[in-house]
C-alpha cells in the first residue's frame, strides 16, 4: 500500500527522495501510474512526482526544440514552431488527457509521440545522481535507462517544412489507441529522397525504425510507385501483436497501406 507521495521541486530534492526510496515509482501526468494505484494491491509504496521539478518547459534555440519530459502534451500545441506536430498532438488521447499526460510519459509508454521522436532523430537528456548524458531517443527506447536515471528533456531539430509525415490508424477518430502509427522525415532533393527516417508504432512492442523501407526510398524518385513498393518491405521490421483493437494479422496487413498514406496523403492511388 502507498506510504508516501513526494513532490520534489528540484533535481537535488529528487535525488534525495530517490535515495530514501530507491524503489519509488515516478509519476508525472498520472495517466499511466494512477490507474494502477487506484486498482490497489500494486505493491508501490512511494510515488515521486515529477510535476514540480521544473522540467516542463519548451524552448527553442537555433532550430532546435528542447522539451522538458514533464511538459504536458497539450503544452506542445502552444508553440508555433511545433505546428508540424499538430496532427500528432491531436491524435493522442483527448484534450483533457493531454493536459495531464507528459512527453516523458508518452516516451516510456511507447506512444505516438515517441514514434515521432524516433523519426525526428531526437536526443534524450538523461541525468543520474551525479552526471548528465545524452543519447538518441531511439536507443533509449530500445534499451531503456539505467537504474537511478531520469530522462529530463528531449530535443530535436525542427524539420524542414513539408518533410514531416504522419498517419495514425485507430478504431475511433479521436482518443483511440494506435493500430499502426507512421512518422517519417522525407527530405527531397530535386524530387529524390535524401536520407529519410521512418518510424512505426503500434506494430511491435516498441516503436521501430522501418529501415528496409528507408533503404528502398533513399536516392529514389519520390512517387507513388516507389513508395508502394518500399512500403511492402515494412513487413520485415514489425512484430505485430494482437490486442483488443486489432489482430496481429490486421496490423501486418495494413501497415504498408498506412505507410503509403502517411507519405503520399490520403488521396494516394485515388483513380
Amino acid at each position: 500500500m502507498l506510504q508516501a507521495v513526494v513532490t520534489p521541486t528540484s533535481l537535488g530534492d529528487l535525488r534525495k527522495a530517490l535515495k530514501l526510496a530507491p524503489k519509488a515509482t515516478l509519476v508525472a501526468g498520472g495517466t499511466l501510474v494512477m490507474p494502477i494505484i487506484n486498482e490497489g494491491a500494486h505493491g508501490i509504496s512511494t510515488l515521486v512526482s515529477l510535476s514540480k521539478l521544473g522540467i516542463d518547459a519548451v524552448s527553442f534555440k537555433k532550430g532546435i526544440a528542447t522539451i522538458g519530459a514533464a511538459a504536458p502534451i497539450a503544452e506542445l500545441a502552444r508553440h508555433s514552431e511545433l505546428k508540424f506536430l499538430s496532427a500528432v498532438i491531436d491524435s493522442i488521447g483527448s484534450p483533457t488527457l493531454r493536459n495531464m499526460a507528459t512527453v516523458g510519459g508518452n516516451l516510456f509508454a511507447y506512444g505516438d509521440l515517441a514514434v515521432c521522436l524516433v523519426a525526428l532523430d531526437a536526443t534524450a537528456i538523461v541525468v543520474n545522481a551525479k552526471s548528465k548524458r545524452s543519447a538518441p531517443v531511439e536507443e533509449i527506447i530500445k534499451k531503456g535507462v539505467k537504474a537511478g536515471e531520469l530522462v529530463t528533456h528531449v530535443s530535436f531539430a525542427i524539420p524542414k517544412p513539408g518533410t514531416f509525415k504522419y498517419a495514425k490508424a485507430s478504431r475511433r477518430a479521436l482518443n483511440s489507441a494506435s493500430i499502426v502509427t507512421v512518422a517519417a522525415i522525407i527530405p527531397l532533393v530535386k524530387g529524390m529522397v535524401a536520407d529519410c527516417r521512418i518510424a512505426l508504432g503500434g506494430v511491435a512492442a516498441k516503436p521501430v525504425r522501418a529501415k528496409s523501407v528507408e533503404k528502398l526510398l533513399n536516392a529514389k524518385l519520390f512517387d507513388e510507385k516507389t513508395v508502394r513498393a518500399a512500403a511492402a518491405a515494412a513487413a520485415k521490421e514489425i512484430a505485430p501483436f494482437t490486442d483488443a483493437y486489432a489482430s496481429a494479422w490486421y496490423r501486418a496487413r495494413v501497415t504498408p497501406v498506412h505507410i503509403c498514406r502517411a507519405l503520399l496523403g490520403d488521396a494516394a492511388g485515388k483513380s
Binding site: 507521495v5 513526494v6 498520472g30
Partner: protein, 163 residues
C-alpha cells in the same frame, strides 16, 4: 502510512484536508468534501466523468494525487450555478435535452467549460475534440455537442429562460 494536510482552493474557498498518501482529487472531492457532483465512472482516466478544472484546465480528478496539486485552484460542477442561476452551459444542456442518465453530465460540462475558457467561439470540431475523452452511453453525443455550441453562441447574452 502517514497522512498529510493538503491545501487546495476549492470552488474559490481555501480548504485544508487531511488525506492518506496518494488520495486522488476525486476521492478528496467526494469522500472528504462531499462534492459528489464529480462522478466516478472508472478510476482509470478512461471515461471523463470526473473532469474538473485544475488551475483553469480540464483534468481528470481520478488521476491526480492531491499532494501534487497543493496550492492549486480546483473548480467543480457545484461552482457553476451560483445564486441559483444556471450557467449558460447548464441551461443549454437542460434546454437541448442533452442529459439522459446524467452520470456523464458533470464531466461533459466541465470539459466544455475548460474549452470555452480558452476558445469562447469554438467550431463544432473543437467541441467534439474537447469532449472526446468523455464517454456518454445514452445520448449518442449529438445533443451534447449541440448544447455546448448553443451555450457558446449564447454566452454574454442571456439565454432564453425556460418555464
Amino acid at each position: 502510512m502517514k497522512g498529510s494536510v493538503v491545501s487546495i482552493t476549492l470552488n474559490g474557498v481555501e480548504r485544508e484536508t487531511l488525506v492518506a498518501p496518494g488520495t486522488t482529487l476525486l476521492n478528496l472531492l467526494r469522500e472528504h468534501q462531499s462534492l459528489t457532483g464529480t462522478r466516478r465512472g472508472c478510476d482509470q482516466g478512461s471515461c471523463g466523468s470526473c473532469t474538473v478544472l485544475v488551475d483553469g484546465k480540464a483534468k481528470l480528478a481520478c488521476l491526480i494525487p492531491v499532494e501534487t496539486i497543493a496550492g492549486s485552484r480546483v473548480e467543480t460542477v457545484e461552482n457553476l450555478a451560483l445564486n441559483n442561476e444556471l450557467h449558460p452551459l447548464q441551461q443549454a444542456f437542460v434546454e437541448g435535452f442533452a442529459t439522459q442518465c446524467g452520470f456523464c453530465t458533470s464531466g461533459m460540462i466541465m470539459a466544455a467549460k475548460g474549452l470555452l475558457s480558452v476558445n469562447p467561439r469554438p467550431s463544432r470540431a473543437d467541441v467534439i475534440r474537447a469532449i472526446s475523452g468523455n464517454v456518454c452511453r445514452c445520448t449518442g453525443y449529438e445533443s451534447i455537442v449541440d448544447a455546448i455550441l448553443a451555450a457558446a453562441a449564447g454566452m454574454g447574452k442571456p439565454l432564453k429562460k425556460s418555464a
